[in-house]
């Protein structure tokens, strides 16, 4: 299991940030991804593999419309 | 149309072009008020000559239609119409729509050729483009 924004989510071996975003349906154009406290740059989302038991923050950047 | 062409390998950063331009148009020898600016980089070719190539991208972003081409194809700012919003500065792909904090409106090369006559190495010259 991993935690995504405080919620328990099932972990899959080899799941990348991109896979996770698809799974969560996180399609927003501006998201900051932190895995275990470290920012993962957007260029690496397709390759960076999330480890089991990771604490993931998908910080959507929107505070107004 | 005739625009200022550049051969950066020949530039020695002497600044004669900058002095010529800023003195003529703004009555001061101030490279930051020159519509052609040269500077050094640590990448090839070593020196960069920044001057408008009259691409015209600025024309379509101007909210007051202050920018247009004259009969010779040169892109000009109508100083009376310009409201100093700097949208053109922001959109310029070559960073050659210049601005200075003391000036209300931006400025650019209008291909007057004065600088090309002062360059000691012929690094800048007038050239014909379509």
């Amino acid at each position: 299991m991993i935690e995504v924004n405080g919620k328990a989510i099932e972990w899959e071996e080899g799941m990348t940030v991109e896979n996770l975003l698809l799974k969560m349906n996180y399609t927003f154009p501006k998201i900051i991804i932190r895995v275990n406290g470290e920012i993962v740059a957007k260029e690496l989302w397709g390759s960076f593999e999330i480890p089991d038991r990771a604490d993931v923050h998908a910080h959507h950047l929107i505070a107004g419309g | 149309m005739k625009i200022v062409g550049v051969n950066e390998e020949l530039c020695t950063l002497c600044g004669a072009c900058e002095t010529t331009c800023s003195t003529f148009y703004f009555k001061e020898d101030n490279r930051l008020k020159s519509a052609i600016q040269v500077h050094e980089t640590d990448q090839d070719p070593g020196n960069v000559i920044s001057v408008c190539n009259q691409c015209g991208k600025c024309i379509e972003v101007c909210p007051v239609e202050a920018i247009s081409r004259n009969k010779k194809g040169i892109v000009l700012i109508n100083k009376k119409t310009c409201v100093g919003c700097f949208n053109c500065v922001g959109v310029c792909p070559t960073g050659t729509m210049f601005w200075h904090e003391e000036l209300v409106i931006p400025f650019k090369c209008i291909a007057c050729a004065r600088c090309t006559k002062e360059c000691p190495t012929e690094a800048i010259f007038m050239t014909d483009v379509d």
Binding site: F28, K30 | P63, V64, C85, N87, G90, V91
Partner: protein
């Protein structure tokens, strides 16, 4: 068109004239405001005091101050004493930074019967200021339709009768612009404020503020949309306002530090050029870029806020709307705005109504219009959304309120609360675009069922209960209004913070003050009550600030600078907050910091709360929310999120959902959520410096420096 403009020119009859020497602008202020009484045709100049600048700043602050002094506690929106005040703000009118042309309109609202404020783009506010007036106050009522013209070039203000056909705002904007312009280029120096026939027949009238588009050769319009400001305007028999000012420059505000303004402006314009296409695509799609994400995150209002998404929402997705907008046009609603988000559909052929067959420019749709008129009504047809947008604009109807009003009637219709006999034959099922369009035309014409719908959700609840025997508590649950104003188009149901963000507002549930759904629901950044309270203090105060200055808040966070992710509080966009501090100081020559910025807002915000109290509102009971805004009212709503709700019952409420009927589960969930909301009110009131009844505490009011005797008199009644 020319012959009607000729007719207009020939018919001009001057009722009053005021010649003046336009004050020079110093550090963002002309130092004068214009007072006009259209009952007796008084026109006079008033001074802006230092106290006004220090305490009220400008914009909404000036509007509230003037309105407070103009009305009594018993004054109604349609009494002559009610004023319409329009003001931009000290930073308004700069050309270098995006979003610098906003004005605030303040008046008493026919929907809420309390003080209303509405922000709007367009050229009017800045041109008004540069013509010599930091604000315009209009009091009284005219006997016949009048036009007020302010010529900042010549230094004249006139009240005139002019023969033109009111009723269609887009024509008024066009024709009055034509009448006042010497030539095509001159049209850009003119801005017209007008409304339409819908504002005469409904409580949701808007004010359209024009801005001339040189490339389209057309007067386009932005809207002061919320709260019925246009209804007040037409009730006063004002047909239009117009201002003309030809000498705009990048230094018109005579700022203290023009270099700083230019530097900051160039910086953000370069940022927009670099990042907008990969971020929110404001220049391509405007606010409609939110349509797709809101649906993806189950936050799009569907069927009167019952649901958050719909399989057909893809038909009015962000990209579908992008393909209808003309691209690569400088679409700023104030000159120089590089965020350029005011998109338009060009050459749109209307299929219904008085302009059927004509090809028009449609200003929009914005997100609110597509979500309100479209998905909230179950209509997923982009042509409908675009046409409804056009007619609401020209009739002068608030698209947000209209969307929520129609959605409400549709749910009532589907529940047999109203029927075809009552609706005059309109089959108001969700999704029936033809019926919805006809309803809009009825509101524009002032006939049929449109006359009832146009009174707003609060009145409809009363009418349906009293005249059609509807269950008032069900109507209360599904009628999405608070304080009398309709909710704007975001699903607050699962975000406790946003529930407060909507219902704890001064004016009613407009997302102007707070937009916390993502921070709360998706990012889970506000897990505790304390964090929610902090957010419901900071963001409403921060967002209020824009309305004091003449600024648009979209460039604050609809473009994000490099390095923002690494900051302590990325959702505040700290670099942009600093930009605004710098801009204010650079214009005014003052030296505020981020803390003082919030304090500026607190003064005006609390003054507005106390103004509400003075008018008989403003206490805790008025911050109550309809249950549809807090949780699932109906069986179908519960079932649409059953897994999530069952889990919440188990984990948060401590009730095992197994073996409970769905009605029992809804009831248990409701008790939990309603209690939670009350707790939220308690913590937020405390954080804001208010009592448990929502009254600003005297010591806090003194600290803010708004403890005028008449203010303390109001508070002391409640303490």
């Amino acid at each position: 068109m020319n012959s009607s403009v000729e007719k207009m020119r020939a018919s001009r009859k001057e009722l009053a004239r005021y010649d003046y020497k336009p004050a020079s602008i110093e550090r963002g202020y002309s130092g004068k405001t214009l007072y006009i009484n259209i009952s007796d045709q008084t026109i006079k100049s008033k001074d802006v005091t230092d106290q006004m600048k220090d305490i009220f700043i400008g914009g909404k602050g000036f509007g509230l101050w003037y309105l407070w002094n103009a009305v009594q506690p018993e004054t109604k929106w349609n009494d002559p004493e009610n004023e319409i005040v329009i003001s931009s703000g000290p930073v308004g009118g700069i050309t270098q930074y995006p979003g610098s042309g906003k004005s605030l309109v303040v008046t008493l609202s026919p929907l809420t019967n309390s003080v209303m404020d509405s922000n709007v783009g367009g050229f009017f506010g800045p041109y008004l200021k540069f013509s010599g007036w930091d604000a315009l106050e209009i009091q009284g009522k005219a006997e016949k339709d009048i036009v007020i013209l302010i010529d900042g070039d010549k230094g004249t203000v006139t009240i005139e009768e002019i023969d033109f056909q009111p009723g269609a705002s887009h024509l008024i904007s066009e024709q009055l612009t034509e009448m006042l312009a010497e030539n095509e280029k001159d049209k850009m120096h003119i801005s017209v404020v007008s409304s339409g026939s819908g504002a005469e027949h409904t409580n949701v009238g808007i004010l359209n503020f024009s801005f001339y588009d040189l490339r389209r050769k057309a007067a386009r319009m932005k809207q002061a949309g919320r709260g019925g400001t246009g209804t007040v305007f037409r009730d006063k028999k004002i047909a239009a306002l117009a201002v003309k000012y030809s000498s705009l420059t990048g230094r018109s505000n005579n700022p203290a530090d023009p270099a700083k303004i230019s530097k900051t402006g160039v910086k953000i314009t370069r940022e927009i050029n670099k990042f907008d296409n990969e971020q929110f695509r404001m220049r391509q799609i405007g606010t409609a870029n939110l349509m797709t994400p809101m649906n993806d995150y189950d936050l799009l209002p569907v069927h009167n806020f019952k649901y958050g998404s719909h399989p057909d929402a893809v038909k009015i997705s962000s990209d579908v709307l992008r393909d209808r907008f003309t691209q690569n046009m400088p679409d700023g609603c104030w000159i120089g705005c590089s965020l350029s988000c005011c998109k338009a559909v060009d050459n749109f052929e209307l299929k219904s109504g008085p302009f059927k067959g004509e090809k028009v420019i449609v200003d929009g749709p914005e997100y609110e219009n597509a979500a309100g008129l479209g998905s909230n009504c179950g209509i997923f047809d982009p042509d409908y959304v675009i046409e409804a947008n056009f007619y609401c604009d020209t009739y002068g109807l608030d698209t947000i309120s209209t969307g929520t009003m129609i959605a409400f009637t549709m749910e009532c219709y589907e529940n047999n609360i109203i029927n075809k006999e009552i609706t005059g034959g309109l089959e108001l099922n969700f999704g029936n675009a033809a019926a919805a369009m006809e309803l809009i035309h009825q509101m524009g014409r002032g006939e049929g069922f449109g006359l009832i719908v146009g009174q707003g959700v609060r009145r409809m609840k009363q009418i349906f209960a009293e005249e059609y025997g509807a269950d008032p508590s069900f109507l209360q649950d599904i009628g999405m209004e608070n304080k009398g104003l309709e909710y704007s188009q975001y699903q607050a149901k699962e975000s406790l913070a946003q529930q407060g963000g909507y219902a704890m507002t001064n004016k009613g549930p407009q997302h102007d003050e707070a937009w916390l759904i993502f921070m709360d629901m998706v990012n889970n950044q506000l897990p505790s009550f304390e964090k929610k309270a902090e957010a419901l203090h900071y963001f409403p105060m921060f967002r209020t600030w824009f309305g004091l200055q003449g600024l648009c808040k979209l460039p604050w966070n609809d473009i994000v600078p490099e390095g923002n992710a690494q900051t302590d509080s990325p959702e505040k966009i700290p670099e942009h907050v600093q930009n605004y501090v710098d801009l204010f100081n650079a214009v005014t020559g003052k030296n505020i910091d981020k803390e003082e910025m919030i304090r500026q807002s607190e003064r005006v915000y609390n003054f507005q709360r106390i103004f509400n109290l003075r008018l008989g509102f403003g206490t805790r009971e008025h911050d109550a929310a309809p249950y549809r805004a807090l949780g699932p009212v109906t069986v179908e709503e519960y079932e649409s999120r059953a897994e999530r709700y069952d889990k919440q019952l188990e984990e948060d409420v401590g009730i095992n959902p197994a073996g409970l009927s769905i009605e029992e589960k809804i009831k248990a969930m409701r008790k939990y959520r309603e209690e939670r909301y009350e707790t939220l009110l308690n913590v937020v009131y405390k954080r804001r410096g208010w009592t448990e009844n929502g009254i600003p505490r005297p010591e806090f009011v003194r600290e803010l420096g708004i403890d005028f005797p008449e203010v303390m008199e109001v508070i002391n009644k409640y303490i």
